[in-house]
Amino acid sequence: MTADNLVQVSGLRFGRSGRPIFSGLDLGIRRGSITAIMGPSGTGKTTLLRMITGQLRPEAGTVAVDGLDVAALSRNDLFDLRRRMGMLFQNSALLTDFDVFENVAFPVRENTRLPEELVRHLVLTKLNSVGLRGAAHLMPAELSGGMARRVAMARAMVLDPELLLYDEPFSGLDPISLGVVLRLIRMNNDALGLTSIVVSHDVAEISRIADHCFVISEGRVIASGPPRELADSPSELVRQFMTGAADGPVPFHYPAPDYAEQLFGKTR
């Protein structure tokens, strides 16, 4: 592991229900960068984030954050490490019984003993940074998808983490919300000196802000580098993924018997 890497994944193996998801995955996330993890559905991108946060344990190999092997940490040490991370969930995962203010205040109240006045300042500052200071009194059910994503972002940042993980931050967003979230990821990363890992399918969007990309397929990294280089990759699979072509190494058709024979023959 190089000192420049905040996260180092080495020889990672993991499977579910007998199906291998990672078969010797290696990758390093450079400090202070925005790194995109891309790949077809079901390649284990979210699983990788859950391993970095210690919610899942690898069958073999290591996931190290700042030199600490996440799977080897005691529960207390793991919680200490998690206090240095923030994560934005795909569905925002806001606490439905709390309003926006209390959602953002939640990790502060639970993890610190700061006086109420300071908690208020901290929460309003973070809400202001995502443009939702005026929505502090709203309940999660009253928010649009984009607003919920921004509240979750404020909550993930409220304790000033070193590492921020984004799980599909653009899915289901309208173009304006998407632009706002893109800008916030870049702005937060640069202004707060964070390291960001963004798991996404949205190749065009993530390519605009990512410093480095990894494309994962069949349990391994099949390409890595700056987004522009990946578009010119010699690998057909990478090019299909980066250009969004419907057919290619990942076929449009699920394996099936001959069409004519199925239509007019006995095959069902």
């Binding site: 919610q55 919680f79 998690r82 206090r83 991370m85 923030g86 994560m87 995962a93 639970e110 993890n111």
Partner: protein, 255 residues
């Protein structure tokens, strides 16, 4: 698969689940001191599980009391022993019906609510988000709800008993004409402290069982709409069977 093999598999699965529930209970008990240090969280849960169950408990108790009063009067009047109606009603309620019916009603009203609430939190990643925020969901979510149930069931049982006695008094004394003084004095004469203690012990044990089943099923429910629905159903079914088994076991030990 043959029937004996299916039965064997079912037995093993049940034992595995029982073991998981016991380990879960141990985990909750470890977090109880931290949860008890935050009385506001506990009082919120006593409100949600206990106070909000009061209407169903009191309504049911009044009608259960009236039925026992009516049936008791009918049986005792054949023996010309109507005066001991108060004692009979009190013993029936305090030792058996109060704790059992309260626990069954609690499972239906509060247990399902707890299981579905926690199951939905699991399905919408709220519990996972807490873990990533370095907040232990067992300490913050599960333990306060469990303690809330353990406190609520004995309190609701006391309310059930009191309202049930009033229901029996209304039917026995006001409608059927049993002597008011005899109703209360016979109750005082025949009901001893051990009868009360038996009911208190049962209600406490039922509170632990109902609370544990609800939070266990909710916490371990598959993160789907069907999974949450099944967890809610299992909460009622498992609690009901468990309460009746525990009721027999405790009674057999105490008699």
């Amino acid at each position: 698969m043959s029937l004996p093999l299916q039965l064997w598999d079912g037995l093993l699965a049940s034992l595995r689940k029982l073991g998981a529930a016991i380990l879960f209970l141990i985990e909750i008990l470890k977090q109880c001191p931290a949860a008890l240090a935050r009385p506001k969280l506990i009082s919120q849960q006593v409100h949600n599980s206990g106070v909000l169950s009061l209407i169903i408990i009191m309504t049911s108790a009044f009608f259960v009391g009236m039925v026992i009063g009516l049936q008791g009067y009918d049986s005792l009047s054949r023996l010309r022993q109507e005066d001991i109606l108060g004692a009979g009603v009190a013993l029936t309620l305090f030792k058996e019906l109060g704790p059992v019916v309260t626990a069954l009603l609690f499972a239906g009203r509060a247990g399902t609510s707890l299981a579905s609430e926690i199951g939905l939190m699991r399905a919408t990643d709220q519990l996972a988000a807490m873990e990533v925020m370095a907040i232990d969901p067992i300490r913050r979510i599960i333990a306060p709800r469990f303690i809330g149930a353990v406190i609520s069931v004995p309190l609701l049982t006391a309310v059930f008993n009191a309202v049930g006695v009033l229901g029996a008094w209304f039917i026995g004394v006001q409608i059927m004409g049993v002597d008011n003084g005899a109703f209360w004095s016979q109750m005082q004469e025949f009901v001893d402290p051990p009868d009360i203690y038996e009911g208190v012990l049962k209600s406490f044990v039922f509170g632990v069982a109902a609370g544990l089943v609800a939070v266990f099923e909710g916490y371990n429910s598959p993160p789907t709409a069907e999974g949450v629905g099944m967890a809610t159903t299992r909460t009622v079914v498992t609690t009901s069977i468990l309460v009746l088994i525990l009721d027999y076991t405790i009674t057999a030990f105490l008699l």
